[in-house]
């Protein structure tokens, strides 16, 4: 008959802790500290707003006929519910932390201006790039802000209604690629140097070709931009096809990575992204016009296979920093899903749109989102 210690040793020696416990603990601490900072900032913002409201109410001449309380307490949402603003979600605990109001307040809403991009996280995780409104005018511009909501800065000044969208950081955090249309043509890919302030145009599609570059992202070594090109009928709604290309960040001739031709039913490949180690290329693909697949290929586009068969149009995917998972959202259900690249197992993690990895355990999620899916016959969730 075994004694107590023998039973203890027998049981516990079979389940030693997984390697890397200290690193996991340190990541947990970083996330916790960050969420606390954001929470403190949100509380400070609420207190500041309340103080301003009190001052205004007590100003002589202010209208005091109302019987409503001047400041309504904002109820704390029950645990597990989706915050009413863009948020961070800790994938380990499910804890949701609202993004600072200074960021969400400048981000252009998806309902009116149909912003088709989410937050882009700088490589060091300290800053966000996103699409905001140019001083209330309906021109989309790229903004950059610190994650705690300080340092909000407009970094593009595109003088036209189509504006700028789809920001993506370079691996060294010094440049941002984006889609813009400063002239009368359809959008093209540009790269902005944040320090110098200048930009370089990388693609030169014109309105006459009906081809629109979209979804730029840097290669892991920062030398190239991967993007997709959709060919449209007229200017709206029904892409003839889409394929993934790569162009040197210094400019020059682009090359086709995924050779999936149009057949007039919106077939093709879109939203190409290289894995963090540069060995794999993920992209949205379809079979028979379904537009419900996430495909994976070698970085040169060869050996393609289907990784995910979704229930809906898959949108805007992104690789986790460690390259083990991909997050995406489904167009109509607004389900945010994470897929394990090795196994293909999918996990529903949140509701919202445009998930972006802040670190290996945290996603930033927009609560609203529309997208004229490059492979879909019609846009969904967008006005107009």
């Amino acid at each position: 008959m075994p004694d107590v210690r023998e039973v203890y040793e027998t049981v516990t020696k079979q389940k030693p802790p997984e390697p890397g416990a200290l690193e996991r603990q340190q990541r947990r601490q970083v996330r916790s500290a960050r969420n606390k900072r954001l929470g403190a900032f949100a509380i400070a913002a609420v207190i500041g707003a309340a103080a301003i409201a009190l001052v205004l109410i007590n100003t002589p001449g202010a209208d005091r006929t109302t019987t409503e309380p001047a400041i309504r307490p904002s109820p704390t949402p029950p645990a597990g519910t989706v915050p009413e603003t863009d948020y961070l979600i800790d994938l380990d605990t499910g804890e949701k932390t609202p993004l600072p109001t200074t960021i969400v307040g400048t981000r252009t809403s998806g309902s009116g201006d149909e912003v088709r991009s989410g937050y882009a996280v700088s490589p060091d995780g300290s800053r966000l790039a996103y699409v905001g409104s140019d001083h209330g005018v309906s021109v989309q511009q790229i903004f950059v802000a610190n994650l705690d909501g300080t340092g909000v800065e407009q970094v593009t000044t595109v003088p036209r209604a189509l504006g700028a969208e789809a920001p993506a950081w370079s691996p060294d955090g010094s440049r941002i690629a984006y889609v813009s249309s400063p002239g009368l043509d359809l959008g093209n890919i540009f790269v902005l140097d944040l320090a110098a302030g200048g930009y370089r145009q990388l693609t030169f599609h014109t309105g006459s070709t009906g081809a629109t570059p979209r979804s730029p992202s840097f290669s892991p070594d920062g030398s190239s931009i991967v993007y997709s090109v959709s060919t449209w009928v007229g200017s709206c709604c029904a892409p003839l096809g889409s394929h993934v290309r790569i162009v040197p960040v210094t400019g020059g001739k682009s090359a086709r990575l995924v050779d999936s031709e149009s057949d007039g039913e919106g077939l093709g490949a879109a939203d190409g992204k290289l894995s963090p180690d540069g060995s794999l290329l993920s992209y949205l693909c379809d079979e028979e016009g379904d537009g419900q697949l996430l495909c994976l290929a070698k970085s040169d586009g060869s050996h393609a296979r289907v990784l995910v068969r979704g229930n809906d149009y898959l949108v805007s995917h992104s690789w986790s920093p460690d390259g083990t998972r991909i997050a995406y959202w489904e167009l109509h259900s607004h389900d945010v899903i994470v897929v394990d690249v090795a196994t293909g197992d999918v996990t529903h993690v949140a509701e919202g749109a445009y998930p972006a990895w802040l670190d290996d355990d945290t996603l930033i999620v927009r609560i609203d989102g529309c997208y004229d899916h490059a492979l879909a016959a019609r846009s969904a969730g967008c006005s107009g």
Partner: protein, 176 residues
């Protein structure tokens, strides 16, 4: 294998490092013990890892006030075991709302042990396992274990005794 002639004498006169350990040093020193203990109590490697991380997170948040914590290791145990109790309570509440009776999972179903050992483990409740771990494995007195578990020392002794009895193959499975 080193020949005896080549054995290098360690410098026994070298002074041991002075001062309290860093958080990382404490983590590396303690996490294996804490994880195994929590695994023995919960029967789930995932729960053990999460409870351990939560406990270390709380300790890390108080690291600049470490002087106020008498025994960091006991503190880690207390926080982790509190977390386990709260989780169990929440799970019972949630299950009670949707299901009249919930069949309990075998906590050690994924461990390959002899059937007699598995039977023994099933016969011991988590509280009894906690009392056994603290007193018999880690050598805490019943007073110290009581402070960690938040119960009276006599209850610790009863729980440990019940657990030992159950592990010897006789009765058990009902908490004091």
């Amino acid at each position: 294998v080193q020949a005896e002639d080549n054995v290098v004498e360690l410098d026994r006169d070298r002074e041991a490092p002075v001062g309290p350990p860093s958080f990382e040093e404490l983590f590396l020193d303690v996490h294996d013990r804490l994880y195994r203990a929590l695994y023995f109590v919960t029967g789930s490697s995932a729960d053990a890892e999460e409870l351990m991380q939560d406990a270390f997170l709380k300790l890390w948040e108080r690291w600049d006030r470490l002087d106020s914590i008498e025994d960091p290791v006991a503190y880690l145990f207390r926080v982790a075991l509190n977390g386990f109790r709260m989780r169990a309570r929440r799970a019972r509440t949630a299950a009670g709302k949707v299901l009249p009776v919930v069949g309990s999972r075998d906590p050690f179903e994924d461990v390959n042990v002899r059937e007699d050992v598995r039977r023994m483990l099933r016969a011991v409740t988590p509280r009894q396992r906690t009392a056994i771990v603290l007193t018999d494995i880690f050598g805490y007195s019943s007073d110290q274990a009581a402070r960690i578990m938040g119960i009276r020392p006599t209850t610790v002794r009863v729980l440990a005794s019940q657990g030992r009895t159950a592990l010897r193959g006789s009765e058990g499975g009902v908490d004091a």
